[in-house]
Amino acid sequence: MLDAIQFSSFAEFIDMGGYGFNVWSVYGLFAIFVAVNLVLPLRKKQKILRQLKRRMMLEEEIKSEDS
């Protein structure tokens, strides 16, 4: 299995046969793309829940003031 790896050293791995910049940019972009589109919705969910909670409290406040 391990000998199927195409690189014998880490430097070679980074270099990608001379196309390091392009290859790593693509993988980097792809990673950012995937991460952003997973993390943002997850964080947004937390934000929404927090906001909804705050609003619920505020509404109760208004209600108790009115009565």
């Binding site: 195409q6 001379g18 392009n22 290859v23 693509v26 969910k45 909804l52």
Partner: protein, 247 residues
């Protein structure tokens, strides 16, 4: 059928069901993504002609192929919004437009990074796939900006649905007309995407795995953001209130 349809249209039902699916989808996505990326980065043998840049291609092709799915998706959800007035369809459509713009952009970016190696230029107007992908991005951005411009969410839903339908017809026409236009300019074009290099079966298997991984990613991301949308738009309903007070 109708029952199923209206049930699927119920945000609450979708929220609960998708909550059950999500872990499985995420697990599958992680597995495919890891296999695809590790294989792609570490094990894929270099192409005899393109060297290690074929590693770009597996990502590019997966993202490019997936990004073609967005206008059909918008067409379907737009029709549902206009005809059956299902709120859920619009929640999906809203996020699909944004995600689709991301996909188109990544296709363009990875394509350029690949082109800069193969063609020596980052951008080439004589290639029809590039140009039509660029205009697909523009159309998606048009849908997004229409939505952000319209204040009333119900108006926005219907307006975007209509625009998506019109846009989908247009994407097809644009694609064909750009292709046609392009054949007239081929002469001076440096290279074309169709100069297929003989890639081994391993390459295609890696690509296939990446395609599956990217489709899974699409669905996970879309479901996550749709769930958020549901929470926001249904915030007054009892079940969301219960959910909030429990959390």
């Amino acid at each position: 059928m109708w029952l199923w349809f209206s049930k699927l249209g119920s945000p609450k039902w979708f929220y609960e069901l998708s909550g059950k699916w999500l872990p499985w989808l995420i697990a599958a996505m992680v597995v495919f993504m890891t296999v695809g990326l590790v294989w792609g980065l570490l094990f894929l043998p270099p192409d005899y002609q393109q060297g290690f840049t074929s590693r770009i291609l597996i990502v590019h092709v997966a993202v490019a192929g997936t990004s073609l799915a967005f206008f059909p998706l918008l067409l379907v959800s737009g029709t549902i919004t206009l005809v059956w007035r299902m709120k859920l369809a619009d929640m999906v459509a809203k996020n699909a437009a944004i995600l689709g713009a991301w996909f188109s952009f990544i296709t363009l970016a990875t394509g350029s990074l690949w082109g800069s190696v193969m063609w020596g230029t980052w951008w080439e107007w004589t290639d029809s796939r590039l140009v039509s992908m660029l205009f697909q991005l523009f159309l998606l951005l048009g849908v997004i900006s229409l939505r952000s411009a319209l204040e009333d969410s119900e108006t926005a839903a219907k307006a975007c649905a209509l625009l998506s339908i019109v846009g989908c017809i247009n994407v097809v026409i644009i694609k064909y007309s750009v292709e046609w236009w392009n054949t007239l300019h081929q002469v001076s074009s440096p290279v074309s995407m169709d100069t297929q290099s003989p890639n081994g079966p391993e390459f295609w298997i890696a690509t296939l795995i990446m395609i599956v991984a990217v489709y899974l990613f699409l669905s996970v991301s879309l479901i996550l953001s749709t769930r958020n949308e549901i929470l926001e738009r249904e915030r007054k309903s009892q079940w969301v209130q219960d959910l909030v007070s429990k959390s």
